[in-house]
Symmetry: C2
Subunit: 490 residues, 2 copies
Amino acid sequence: MAKKITSRRDDYSQWYNDIVQRADLAENSGVRGCMVIKPYGYAIWEKMQAELDRMFKQTGHLNAYFPLFIPKSYLSKEAAHVEGFAKECAVVTHYRLKNGDNGDVIVDPDAKLEEELIVRPTSETIIWDTYRKWIQSYRDLPLLINQWANVVRWEMRTRLFLRTAEFLWQGGDTAHASKKEAIEETEKMIDVYADFSENFMAMPVIKGLKTENERFAGAEETYCIEALMQDGKSLQAGTSHFLAQNFSKAFDVKYTTKEGKQDYVWATSWGVSTRLMGALIMTHSDDLGLVLPPKLAPFQIVIIPIYKSDDQLKKINSVAFDVKQKLESKGISVNYDARNTHKPGWKFAEYELKGVPLRLALGNRDIENGTIEIARRDTLEKQIVKIENIENEVLNLLEDIQNNLYKKALLFREENTFIANTKDDFIKHIDRGGFVYAHWDGTAKTEELIKQKTKATIRCIPLSDQEKTAGNCLFTGMPSKQRVLFAKAY
Amino acid sequence: MAKKITSRRDDYSQWYNDIVQRADLAENSGVRGCMVIKPYGYAIWEKMQAELDRMFKQTGHLNAYFPLFIPKSYLSKEAAHVEGFAKECAVVTHYRLKNGDNGDVIVDPDAKLEEELIVRPTSETIIWDTYRKWIQSYRDLPLLINQWANVVRWEMRTRLFLRTAEFLWQGGDTAHASKKEAIEETEKMIDVYADFSENFMAMPVIKGLKTENERFAGAEETYCIEALMQDGKSLQAGTSHFLAQNFSKAFDVKYTTKEGKQDYVWATSWGVSTRLMGALIMTHSDDLGLVLPPKLAPFQIVIIPIYKSDDQLKKINSVAFDVKQKLESKGISVNYDARNTHKPGWKFAEYELKGVPLRLALGNRDIENGTIEIARRDTLEKQIVKIENIENEVLNLLEDIQNNLYKKALLFREENTFIANTKDDFIKHIDRGGFVYAHWDGTAKTEELIKQKTKATIRCIPLSDQEKTAGNCLFTGMPSKQRVLFAKAY
C-alpha cells in the first residue's frame, strides 16, 4: 500500500500539498507558478462551474467572452485600478519567433509590438471599453454579463490552487441605471456566493465588507465571504464589488435616461476562482486524504468487488451493474471499479484518499445474503444494508454527509471564533489561530499597526446584525461602531 | 425598422460580417485581431461545447487544464512542430509594469524573464512534458485527455470567428500503448466531429486525409472534415492527428509494456474551435439573417404577443405563459418577449435576424379561437395551429427544421460538387466555386503548381470508398490512385 500522507498536526502545509498531489488534483508545471489541473481536480472544478453557472443564469446573467490581452494604455485609464493591479503581470512585447543559428528558436527583434499587451489580470478595463459601444439608452440596462476565463497575476510565491500565476475564474461585470440597483446587484451576488459556499461546498462563510485597505482597486465598496480553514487561517472565498461610476467615467460609458438626460452608468464586478478548490480541500479533508461534499464529488459512489475467483466476480458483476443502474436512475453518480490490476485494499485506500463520499463493497457472502457494505468517507462508519433498499439508503446517506460536513465545519469555526476585549486577549487568540472579533477605530493606520504587530488583517466588517455593538478600539482606545473580524489569512 | 443586411449576391463577405454583427454574435475589440464574443454568440458556442463535451466523455475522455504559457525551449523539441508553428505567436518577455514619469505605465526593464514564454498556439509540447510524469506503465494507458481553452496565433489578416488572433477551442491529447490503438483513436475522433457536424450543426462534411503539405506540424497523418460554404469555398471544420511517436520521443515519454520492456507511447491530438461558429453561420444563413439548427439555438422558440390594450395583453400573457410552460416541460427552450419597448414588427425582424427556429405569435383573435400562429425561420412558412396540440406541433416542426437544414445544405453541396476529367474542366469549376474531384499524381510539387495556377488546394484525400478509382493526374498525366478533393478554402 502507498505511504500515508503527512498529518495536519505534523505539518499542515505539507498535508495540503500531499492531498493535492496524492488525490490527483493538480501539480506544478514546467512553467513557473502555473499549475496543471489534473482530471480528478478538474472534474470537481467543472461541478463547481456548473452550479455557479446555473445560479448566475437564474439571476439573469448571460455569458460572454472578452480578449485575453489588455492594451497597456487601458490600465492607466482608471487611476485607482492601475495602482492596485498593474504591477506584477505578464507582458507581451513581441509577436513572432524565428529560427536561430543553432537550431534553436529566438524572438524576432523586428516583431516588436507598438503597444505592449498585458495578459489580463482581470477584465474590467477591456469590458468597459466594450460596454461603451453596447450601452446607449436605459433600454440597454441593466447589462448583466459573466465571463469564464483564465487570468494571470505574476505571483512570486505560489501554492497550488491558493495562489498561482495563472488561474481559472469567472468575473461578472454589470452595468445599471442607478446606484441603488448596482448596490442591490453587488449584494445579490455576494449572497449567491455565500449560498454556493454553504449549500454546495458545505463551507460556512462570514459575509462582510472589506476595509478601504483591502478593497478591490477601483471599487467603492468590496463585499466578501470569508471562511476559516483548519489551520485557523481565513480564506477569502469570493468578492463582489460596487464600482460606482469609476469605470464608466474612465471609459466614458454614458446612457440616455428615460427623461432624455445623459448620465454615467453604475457598475459592479464579482468573481470566484480555482482558489475555491483550495478552500474546499482545507475545509473538509482529514489525515486520510480528501473529503468531498456529495454535491461536488466527481462520483459520489464507488463500488468495489471483493472476489476470489472469476466465477465469484461474474456473479458480483451482475449484482453491481444492477445496483449501479438503480442508483444512476436516481441521479447518483457511480464508479464501479472492477479493475483486476489492483487489489481491494489498494482501492479502499485510493478512494479514501480521493474523498469519494460513499464506498460500497460487494463480496461473495453479500451476494448470498442480498446485502452490501456501505462505508462513509466523512465518519468512516460502516454498515451492512439490504440491496433491495439501496437507492433510499444511499440517497439518505448522501444528504446526511452533505449536512454533516457543513455542521462539522461550522462547529470547528464556532470553536475557533473568539471575542477579544483586551489587547492581550487579542494577541493571544490571533497567535493561536482562528477568527477574532474585536473593536477597531476605523483607521487605516491602526489596521496597519495591528497587521505589523500580529500578522492579522481585518478580514471584513461583518454584515450580520449581531456584531453591531459599539465599543472602543483595543489598540488606540478610540470609539468603534462595531466589532470587526480579524484573522491571519491566505 | 432597422436596415436590411447585405445580400449574398451583392457582397458575400459583407453579408457574413453583417450577420455576425447584426445578430449580436461577435465584434472586433480594441486589441488587434482579438474578438469579443457577445452573449448570443457565446450561447451558441456553449451549446456546441456541451454537446461535444458529452460526446468526448461518452468516448471515455476526461477534461484537464494545462498552462497558458509554453517555455520557448519546449517548442524546439519536436523539430517538425516548431517549423510549422513557432512563427507568429504572442511572446511574453517581462513580468512587471511600473509607473512612468508622466502618470503612465511602462514595462519595468528590470523584470525581464530569463526564458521567454509563448502564449500557447496549441498545447502538445507542454502536455507531453507533463505526460512524462503521468505515464510509467501500460496500466496508465490509454490516457485520454481533453482540454477546453483559449489559444493565440498571431494572424495578420483576421475575420470574426474564421481567423482571429485569440480563439476558443478544445484540444484532445491521448497516449496509447500501440500504433494500432492510436490510429483507431484518431479515426474515432474524426468520426465524433463528423457526427457532431452532421447531426447537431446540420452541416454535411467530407472526411479525408490531408496531404503532407497540409498536415499538422508534427503529425504523421492528419484526418479532417471539410464543409462547403455558400460561396463555394471549403472550410476545414475539424482535424484529428495521428502523431505516431514524435512527441513521446521528443519529450521522452516511455512506458513499461506488459512484457516488462520499455517503449515510447503512441499519440494523437484533435481539435475544433470557435471557427465552427463561422461554418455554422455560412452553411445555413440567408439574406434575412442567421438561420440556426434547433439543436444549437440558444432558444428554439420565441413567443411574441400582439395586442392593442393592456387588457388584451393580460389575457395573452396568461395563455403565453401556459404555452411556454407546456413547451418547456418537453425540453424545448422558449423566450417570451413581452417587452413594451419594441413593436411586434421590430421583434419579428429581430428574431428573424437572430435565426430563432420558430416564432409563435399570439393575438387577440388567437385567444378567442384557441389558436396560435407559427412561423418557421428556415422556410418562412406560416401556419395557424390549435393551442391544445402545441407541444406536438412544435416538436415535429423542430425536428423537421433540423432535418431540412441538413438536406438543404447537402443538396447545395451536391449541386456544387464536380468531377473534373480535363485540366480545362478543372480550372472552369474551380473558378466557379465548389468542390472538385480530380486525379492528382501524389506529389507536393504538382499540388503547389495547381495552387499557384488556380488558388485551389487539396482539401483532403477522401476516405469514402466511392472515390477510389485510379486514373491520371490532370496536370502531369502521371498515374493517380484515386481522385482527391480540391477547392478554394477559408
